[in-house]
């Protein structure tokens, strides 16, 4: 059943991505002031939103783990965080390449860039912390606590760095900026496509995590029986 869901979501994501790529490269015109390069936005922004959604889901799963002690929530938290980190990395790298053309520099210590980087480091710390703990129960508990701390830090980081400095343009899609409706609908569709892709990756990772847990407990059982 789960296999079928994964395949179905994967096919849907692939079809939608193919359609979006066609309209991004073949249908939509160049942007007036930026030329071709603006097309990066169709991956840049949806990747960031997907990663942010991942942070919300991971925090929710961590709280639920601490409440219920159900290890499934722990698996959800780690899977979602890993996939979210991959998407945030894609967001950072595409942003950097875009900035090289528009701003003339690879990196600037602007509010959004800096907060994205700090969030990336925070959640990378989460994965490293998990890696350092052997015992499954302690790992799940401590990782869940850390995740809650990290999630609480995200808004503080974003607001404090915003006070600090801002160079990044304000959001063009929802910030009241003017944007062509065709571009907006493509961006929304690509957001859906990337979220489907993220869901597929999360489901695969989730299954791996559960199989790994099963193997570990079987192995402990086997050692105990001998």
């Amino acid at each position: 059943m789960r296999e079928k869901v994964i395949y179905a979501l994967g096919v849907a994501a692939a079809l939608l991505l193919a359609r979006n790529l066609y309209s991004i490269f073949m249908v939509l015109p160049d942007e007036a002031s930026q030329g071709m390069i603006y097309r990066i936005i169709f991956f840049h922004v949806p990747a960031a939103i997907t990663a942010m959604l991942g942070a919300f889901v991971a925090a929710f799963a961590s709280i639920m783990f601490l409440v219920t002690k159900n290890f499934r929530y722990d698996s959800v938290a780690v899977s979602v965080t890993e996939v979210g980190l991959a998407f945030l990395a894609a967001n950072l790298v595409t942003g950097s390449i875009w900035g090289r053309i528009i701003w003339g520099i690879w990196w600037t210590w602007d509010a959004r860039l800096t907060s994205a980087l700090v969030c990336w480091l925070l959640y990378a710390g989460y994965l490293m912390l998990r890696h350092a703990i052997e015992e499954p129960t302690a790992r799940a508990r401590i990782a869940a606590v850390f995740n809650i701390f990290a999630f609480a830090d995200v808004p503080i980081v974003i607001f404090s760095i915003k006070w600090w400095r801002t160079q990044h343009p304000q959001p063009v899609f929802w910030g009241g900026g003017s944007i062509d409706p065709a571009m907006k609908s493509t961006a929304v569709l690509n957001l859906v496509a990337l979220m489907l892709l993220a869901a597929v990756l999360v489901l695969i990772r989730l299954r791996q995590e559960e199989v790994q847990r099963e193997i570990d407990s079987l192995r402990r059982y086997a050692h105990a029986v001998v």
């Binding site: 090289r100 695969i204 791996q208 079987l218």
Partner: protein, 51 residues
């Protein structure tokens, strides 16, 4: 400027997909590790059954 614009757009998309491909490869590596573990577990069980 225009060709540079085009190459950088290409780099951007390439990098985004490359990161996802690397992540998928990491998933594949983990999958392989898990199936190895299952294999060794199974042989351990067989060994015990024969004993």
């Amino acid at each position: 400027m225009d060709t540079r614009n085009f190459t950088f757009m290409f780099y951007g998309f390439l990098a985004a997909w490359l990161i996802l491909v690397v992540y998928v490869l990491m998933l594949v590596a983990r999958e392989r590790k898990i199936s190895d573990q299952i294999k060794s577990l199974r042989s351990m069980m067989d060994f015990k059954d024969h004993k």
